[in-house]
């Protein structure tokens, strides 16, 4: 499917519109839920960390430090991607699957259009903007943590911000975004594959969406493990 995606490209004037539409559907359309989840989970990470520090010898800066590390390294890139496998992945599988069931893909093929290029390529390009979503998740996660810390009275703003800056390793940002690019590829291709090659009717579209979510999540978890082993160990 990947090789076929680059053969017989669709006219650029048409492809440009498809890419913009997919950026709107997959990236802009995900910002609301990503912002909501990131903000509140950032808050919860902070509260959990603060409540588990009962030793007075442990500095309060650790709350900010732990929040930053959790959000930057795992929560924003990996767990947000699993949530996106449910949102974006299901959308991709069900929209392409419905096109298969209702013969819209056959209609494209009869017209001599490379349907894989027409349907999957714009999604892959749109998902190249996925790191932008993850950046917002990282930012709002930390802000959520800061708010929870201030309003919960777990530490002072200064302590939290000092913690955020403590032992900062810039490579962790690179590591997070390398993972994010890999997840973006997975999020665009696995759901597309399950939608494109599905057979049957409406019930099977639902089944394909579920299967695609499962396999996309599995792929994300495995890639996360391998990327961590390769890049951080």
């Amino acid at each position: 499917m990947i090789i076929e995606m680059f053969r017989k490209p669709t006219k650029w004037s048409v492809m440009k519109e498809l890419i913009l539409k997919d950026i709107d559907d997959l990236i802009i359309g995900s910002l609301g839920i990503v912002a909501f989840i990131a903000f509140f989970v950032g808050g919860v990470v902070t509260i959990q960390t603060a409540l588990n520090i009962d030793n007075p010898l442990i500095p309060k800066e650790l709350i900010g430090f732990a929040t930053r590390q959790s959000i930057l390294l795992e929560f924003a890139p990996t767990f947000m991607s699993i949530i996106m496998a449910g949102k974006v992945g299901s959308f991709i599988t069900s929209s392409i699957g419905t096109m298969r069931v209702t013969e819209q893909i056959d209609a494209l093929e009869v017209m001599g259009i490379n349907s894989i290029n027409y349907l999957v390529f714009p999604k892959l390009i749109a998902m190249a903007f996925y790191p932008f979503v993850i950046s917002i998740a990282m930012f709002l996660g930390v802000i959520g943590g800061l708010m929870a810390c201030i309003y919960g009275g777990y530490a002072s703003t200064d302590d939290f911000i000092t913690g955020l800056q403590q032992e900062f390793n810039p490579f962790h940002i690179s590591y997070a975004f390398i993972k994010t690019f890999l997840f973006a590829f997975v999020l665009a291709t696995i759901p597309s594959y399950h939608g494109y090659y599905m057979k049957g009717g409406a019930l099977e579209v639902g089944e394909a969406s579920t299967t695609s979510f499962v396999w996309t999540s599995v792929a994300i978890i495995i890639i996360n493990y391998l990327a961590t082993q390769l890049l951080l160990s």
């Binding site: 006219k11 419905t98 209702t102 013969e103 209609a107 093929e109 009869v110 017209m111 001599g112 259009i113």
Partner: protein, 255 residues
């Protein structure tokens, strides 16, 4: 004109098409009829190049489709219009955008010219007021007419229709049949229709091929079908009492 010679198609052990030869004429509505499972849809998909076949050939005005280069196949496909059983309109596009779609893909017309052409065709299928609607807002009959408009907008030489009036009420079905027939004659298109609707056969069957178990069992016109004594055909076509009575009346009148 489309000429099919000794076409064979199998799926694994199942031999679906067994050496079918048939000519589909320009400016005529060529019908393929037969029971469900007789191989009609597979035959149509072979004609459209959606399925490869093992033996035989399909010639579009003397050119064997399978032997064409990729670029020529693409050019050939631009000359093909297809009306799918379920209309297959693109959900995310308006009716007007659906009709403009082949123009956007295969021509260098400006957006205004495309819109103008789409509106002419929509008017031809009596849908001049529906161009801003989404396909989901259109009735089954309207969707079929949009599908016909999309199929003919790029002036195709060949028009294929898979059960164009399935799921429609008898009155709308006749409107669709007549529309396809008129367009075929008006634009001198080679039209191939896959159907098991006997009303269509009686109304617009210029050239009818009857398929049974992957074999061409009979060929003729809508007038021939009243006179044939081919048992396989009569068993299928006159399975309803209504058509039996129509046939008796026609034969009586012709005596």
């Amino acid at each position: 004109m489309i000429e099919v010679k000794k076409l064979h198609k199998s799926f694994g052990e199942a031999h679906i098409l067994k050496g079918i030869s048939q000519t589909f004429y320009q400016g005529k509505t060529n019908l393929i009829i037969g029971q469900s499972g007789s191989g009609k849809s597979v035959f149509l998909k072979c004609l459209l190049g959606l399925y490869d076949y093992e033996e035989g050939s399909i010639e579009y005005d003397g050119e064997v489709f399978a032997n064409l280069s990729e670029a020529k196949k693409r050019d050939m496909r631009a000359k093909i219009g297809m009306v799918f059983q379920g209309s297959a309109l693109f959900d995310s596009l308006t009716i007007e955008e659906n009709v403009m779609f082949p123009l956007r893909m295969f021509t260098k017309l400006t957006k205004n010219d495309m819109r103008e052409r789409a509106n002419i065709v929509l008017k031809r299928v009596n849908l001049e007021d529906a161009h801003k609607k989404m396909p989901s807002e259109a009735s089954g009959g309207m969707q079929k007419r949009v599908a016909i408009a999309r199929a003919i907008v790029n002036n195709p030489k060949y028009l294929f229709c898979d059960e164009p009036n399935s799921g429609l009420d008898p009155k709308t079905a006749i409107v669709i049949d007549n529309l396809i027939h008129e367009i075929t004659e008006e634009y001198k298109i080679t039209t191939v229709i896959n159907t098991h609707d006997m009303n269509s056969v009686m109304e617009i069957g210029d050239n009818i091929m009857f398929l049974k178990d992957g074999i061409k069992a009979w060929e003729g016109t809508k007038d021939d079908i009243f006179r044939t004594d081919n048992k396989v055909v009569t068993d299928f076509v006159y399975s309803s009492n209504l058509f039996k009575k129509v046939r008796e009346a026609v034969l009586k009148e012709n005596k």
